[in-house]
């Protein structure tokens, strides 16, 4: 590079001649040189900035284009990356304890229309209305000829209907694949399963979400692809459930009851083998929720879990068991049963004449209100409340149904002396039949806490001890005597040693003005076989009437007990419990030697 000299000799000499300052020339040249240097470095900086800007623009442009393609394109399954099983992405099945299907999926189609692609909307509307009688032709025509570009016609159609719609041949009628939830057993176990419906719907897919029951409770688990379609195993036994529902429906029809509920529970594992509530519904075609009136009249209402009722004398065993636990009485202690007991305006009396004093066992066997009330008064309200809480009767059950929290027991606002007395025989405290089953299971299994569950569990639950095992044993013995010589004599099933307690409670009037005379809730809480209890069976009937006699009978002994006995007779063999038949001739082999 040739540098221009700062003091060129020619110009310096010339300047000297003319008397100018030669250093001005140097300054001038220095300035020019600095300007040129500044220009060069500016140009270089500018070009660097340009390249950097271009690089940034390219990088951000790439990201932008990638983002917009991701946002604008349809999602696609990553098929190349190996991440689990990409095929089974549908909602998991629900099966019973023996693996029989209770809920599964079926591939089907949804029908939608794009009216702007239609050639003859009138014909399409007319023929669609012929295929689907519930569709309104005028409404369809209005949709098809209006300004809409997209119309859902049907959410699910059968293969036959698919073919019929194909035959219309309209280019504006299109199908989207759908997965349909199918309950192959119809209304059996409807209240446990609940039902499912569509969540967000797109043309090419729709999510299936659970709307009630176990489908809703385990919605996340059933939809989780990480499970790879492993079915949800319930504790229910489909055969037992079907038999129990059949018996219950028969009993409900014979006794003109408004509703009924039954629970069969394994006392060791807490598994619910059957849970029925009538009237029921078909979960494939779930009826709409009532918008007016009492929700408990809807078939969707689960009486066994959500229905909280005063369950009457079935509670008496709790007071007696607690008194035995505290060492206040033993089964032979004489209890004063003279009546009535008066608390202010409230009087407690017995339903029929009784001896003025009876043993504690007879108080249960004869179902004496005054006797139980006196025992409860000995225990005291605070301890009674704690014991009932230990039995799980003051909190909602932990069963795995989305409706479980709504089955919250109704406790008295103030737990006074009169409440202690009435609660001891099941009035003034409302619980669901499932609560009762849980409490009876605790008595039956020797006094340890057990939580009802709908999931299959092979091991027995070992909960905290609620009462001593000999107290539980004596309580079971008392309950056995209720069946052999007490109010539940119709509950005897040959070979199964049923033990249980009846409960008849007048229904409270809806507006809170006392009780009905002619409407009862009858309950039979039982366990069998008494010598080695395995299962608890609770049957509740709503407003039953037994009218074979001269007067209509509304007590549990005439209504709930025979239904429960028939249920045990049908169901116990199905659960593999052998009746203990007394052999008539003792067959034996005589050993002899000679």
């Amino acid at each position: 590079m040739i540098r221009t000299p700062l003091r060129p000799l020619a110009r310096v000499l010339k300047a000297r001649e003319t008397g100018e300052d030669p250093s001005a020339i140097e300054k001038e040249n220095l300035r020019l040189r600095h300007e040129a240097m500044a220009d060069r470095s500016r140009a270089r900086a500018e070009s660097r900035l340009l390249i950097l800007g271009a690089a940034f623009a390219l990088a951000f442009g790439t990201i932008g284009v990638r983002m917009s393609t991701l946002a604008g394109s349809m999602p696609e399954e990553p098929r190349v990356v190996d991440s689990g099983n990409p095929i089974i992405g549908q909602r998991a099945d629900i099966v019973d304890r023996n693996g029989r299907i209770l809920a599964t999926n079926l591939a089907t189609h949804a029908l939608y229309a794009q009216p702007h692609q239609m050639i003859e909307p009138e014909r399409a509307a007319r023929e669609l209305a012929e295929i689907f009688p519930d569709l309104n032709e005028e409404r369809l025509l209005k949709d098809f000829t209006g300004s809409r570009k997209f119309v859902w016609v049907r959410r699910q159609i059968s293969p036959e209907q698919l073919q019929q719609v194909h035959d219309i041949g309209s280019p504006g009628l299109l199908f989207g694949p759908r997965e349909m939830r199918l309950y192959p057993n119809g209304p059996i176990a409807a209240h446990v399963l609940g039902g499912a419906s569509y969540g967000r719907e797109g043309v090419s897919s729709a999510e299936v979400i659970g709307v009630a029951g176990i489908e809703r409770r385990f919605d996340d688990l059933l939809r989780d692809p990480a499970n790879e379609g492993a079915p949800l195993e319930l504790s229910l036994d489909l055969t037992v459930q079907a038999a129990a529902e059949e018996v219950l429906a028969g009993g409900m029809a014979l006794l003109n009851a408004k509703g009924a509920a039954s629970i069969i529970m394994d006392i060791h594992s807490g598994e619910i083998i059957s849970l029925a509530s009538l009237p029921d519904f078909d979960p494939n075609n779930r009826p709409p929720v009532l918008t007016t009136g009492d929700q408990s009249d809807s078939p969707l209402f689960n009486r066994a879990v959500q229905g909280v009722y005063e369950l009457g004398s079935t509670f008496k065993i709790f007071a007696v068991a607690q008194a035995m636990e505290l060492g206040l009485i033993n089964p032979a202690t004489m209890i004063d049963t003279t009546g009535p007991l008066t608390f202010g305006r409230q009087r407690i009396r017995d339903f029929h004449r009784m001896d003025p004093a009876m043993t504690a066992t007879d108080v249960i066997v004869e179902s004496s209100n005054t006797g139980t009330a006196r025992i409860a008064l000995q225990i005291g309200g605070q301890r009674q409340k704690e014991f009932l809480a230990d039995l799980g009767l003051t909190e909602p059950t932990l069963i795995e149904l989305s409706e479980a929290p709504s089955g919250r027991p109704l406790l008295p606002p103030r737990w006074g002396e009169v409440n202690t007395a009435t609660i001891s025989f099941g009035h003034g405290l409302s619980t669901s039949p499932l609560h009762l089953a849980q409490a009876y299971a605790i008595i039956a299994n020797g006094g340890t806490r057990v939580t009802p569950t709908l999931l299959r569990r092979d091991a027995a639950q070992v909960g905290p001890r609620v009462m001593r095992s000999e107290v539980a044993l004596r309580s079971v013995d008392m309950l056995r005597q209720v069946v052999t010589r007490g109010t539940a004599s119709m509950g005897e099933v040959a070979g199964y040693q049923v033990a249980g307690k009846t409960g008849t409670a007048d229904k409270p009037k809806a507006n809170g003005g006392g009780y009905y005379d002619d409407k009862t809730i009858t309950t039979f809480a039982s366990l069998f076989p008494a010598s080695d209890p395995q299962y608890v069976v609770v049957v509740t009937l709503d407003e039953p009437v037994e009218s074979s006699g001269d007067d209509p009978r509304r007590t549990a002994g005439w209504t709930a007990v025979p239904v429960a006995a028939e249920m045990i007779r049908r169901v116990a063999p199905l659960m593999g419990i052998r009746p203990q038949i007394e052999p008539t001739v003792q067959a034996s082999v005589t050993l002899s030697s000679n």
């Binding site: 095929i87 599964t104 192959p184 063999p573 009746p579």
Partner: protein, 120 residues
Amino acid sequence: MMRFVMYIAAALAVMGLGFWAYQENYRTQTAIKDVRRLQAQIGDAHERLGMLRAEWAYLNRPDRLTDLAELNFDRLGLLPLSPDSFGDARYIVYPIPDILPITNPIDVTSIGPSTEEDPL
């Protein structure tokens, strides 16, 4: 000279690698296509299987089985399981031994030996 050979070798290596990458690319594409086809097949099979299982469950629903048992009662005589259905091995009789063949029949009538053929 040495530099020239290096250039040639590098160019050949680039061409070779390009050819290899081209082939690998196509092999990968084919494999992916195969996987997709197989997955679609497995998916279809699963769907069919699900359909069959649903149909099996539907045909074996307790309501239908009860109705069928009632309809075919004459032929099958099926009853709901009841406590009476249980038995005990002790109540099963021992097999009754067959009567041994009579080899030397003895006439017990006083009239005399019959002339008719032995009914046994």
